[in-house]
Amino acid sequence: MFAYIVRRLFLMLLTLFGISIVIFFLLRIVPGNIVDILFAAAGYVDPADKAALERQLGVDQPMVVQYLHWIGGLLHGDLGYSYVSEKPALDEILPRIPITARLAGLALLFSASVGIPLGVLSAVNQGSRLDYALRVVSLSGLSLPSFWLGLLILTASVAMFGEIPIFNPDPKTWGEVFATYCIPAMAVGFRSSALTMRITRSSMLEVLRQDYIRTARAKGASESSVNFHHALKNAILPVITVVGIEAAFLIGGLIVTETVFNIPGVARFLVEAIRWRDYPIVQNLVMFIAVVVVTANFIVDMLYAVFDPRIRYSD
């Protein structure tokens, strides 16, 4: 087990290192640096000013030096400065994380509490009208763009209350918490719940075909005991893996939903930074997202190995 963990950790660091290279050079693939772009927008500018700014931002140095400078700083907790606000990138990013984390947590909770029971219901009644209806619902859930769902919620809120909810940074009452976090979280979690439901269903069907389920039935175990005690317990394992995939899935939903609902979280901040070409912010945020996704996958792999010892030997 120890060797397995060490190997996984090593691969994880290798992946993160690779991502840092890909992101850094991808953002600089187009000729011309940020100073060229800023100055092109301003029209004619004194070349001395330009050179001074280039020196100040460090973009006059070779690309590799710039990269090493960034990674070196990153390892010391120094993320550089935002081009736009000129504040330390860390101070810009950190306060926005809790908002997005709360949204993501609620969205995961929503997706699991809706997706898992409906998936079980669908599998237990395989081939019935209910199963058919639930499959169509989950497929249409996967087809709705999250941002459109958010816009529809806003439209409905205008129709009902005549106003759209405004983000409240410090919700006091339960109603405010609901409007601020729960509704956007549902908009994000809706698609994930459809995904969770599909995976729970197929995992449950796989288990229900096994011999020990037939044995349990033959012994005279009750239908609910077979479904929940024997089947769900074994079917839930593949569903856990989905949490890893969903971390990546959720981030896409968070980006558009935070934009629709005007929520000042990290996900919307990434879009703003990309639009402003604020590369120190973009590269650090993408690294942060990669760390979250890779860590989620690592935790899932560990959970899997704990619950299913066969994994440790086969890999």
Binding site: S140, L144, F147, L151, T259
Partner: protein, 297 residues
């Protein structure tokens, strides 16, 4: 014991279906949802091809007098803030969605197949390198990678197609690699080797055709997600640039204002996106059931 009704059993199993049309009708009835998906996809493609005929107005012509007109006989789905006909824009938008959907899926699948085949067939260090590269690409969410790519390359149709195709490569490569590894051990590959066929020829003539079924299933499944990603990118203002009528762009952030004053600008493009994606998803599911029965849920 009741007598078995052979005829109805045989009909249910499709044994009585005769002729090309009879068999087709049987298949359509058996996979009703898939057929509905196919019909939606066909409508979507036809709309894109005949956009000039179906759309009654030019999608780019600005008409300030009729700005923000409500849906009615003149403009079936109303007009936007520039007075452009929403129905015509949606009809022409089908072209963009289709171009991005097919273009990026084909591009991503082509590179994915090449990498997956090389990685699974050659193994060794080639496999090791490709595996790490797919690890890297898969650690970033599709939308994040596509966002950074369009930001780096600049917003335009070919760049959007490229930006959405790249994240597909590792997904396709993984599946093709796993398939190739399994196929390599089968007797017919060994037989091909023993009669002295070259490795390249075995890979292309014997292994590749056998990975086609899972590839088609995967590509159809990804088609919907590429359309959704294009819509998200354009919605965020980093996809297809103005004035081209992309469905996502039509819903762009200013839509939050129109939610109050002109809800038709929010509702119709969203229906178009959802319907197109729903069609491809329904069809993809049915295709998976038919071509890849092991995965049938």
């Amino acid at each position: 014991m009741a007598a078995i009704d052979f005829e109805s059993e045989l009909r249910r199993a499709g044994a009585l279906a005769s002729g090309r049309w009879g068999k087709l009708a049987y298949l359509a009835q058996r996979h009703l949802l898939g057929t509905i998906g196919l019909v939606i996809m066909a409508l979507f493609v036809l709309t894109a091809i005949f956009a000039n005929v179906i759309g009654r107005y030019d999608p780019l012509t600005v008409d300030a007098v009729h700005a923000l007109a409500r849906p009615g006989w003149q403009h079936w789905m109303g007009t936007d803030s520039f007075g452009r006909d929403v129905f015509s824009r949606i009809v022409h938008g089908a072209r963009i969605s289709l171009a991005v959907g097919i273009g990026s899926t084909a591009l991503g699948a082509t590179f994915g197949v090449m990498i997956g085949l090389a990685s699974g067939y050659l193994s060794g260090w080639v496999d090791l390198v490709f595996q790490r590269v797919t690890d890297i690409l898969q650690a970033l969410p599709l939308l994040v990678l596509a966002l950074v790519m369009t930001a780096a390359l600049g917003p335009s149709l070919p760049n959007v197609i490229l930006a959405i195709a790249i994240p597909l490569v590792p997904i396709v490569a993984r599946v093709i690699r796993a398939n190739t590894l399994a196929l390599r051990e089968l007797p017919f590959v060994e037989a091909a080797k023993s009669i002295g066929m070259s490795e390249m020829r075995i890979a292309l003539r014997h292994v590749l055709p056998n990975t086609l079924a899972p590839l088609i299933v995967l590509a159809t499944a990804q088609l919907g997600s590429t359309i959704l990603t294009e819509a998200s990118l354009s919605f965020l203002g980093l996809g297809i640039p103005e004035p081209y009528p992309s469905w996502g762009r039509m819903l762009s952030e200013s839509a939050a204002e129109y939610v109050r004053t002109a809800p038709w600008l929010v509702i119709f493009p969203g229906i178009a996106i959802s319907l197109a994606v729903f069609g491809t998803n329904l069809f993809g599911d049915a295709l998976r059931d038919i071509l890849d029965p092991r995965q049938r849920g």
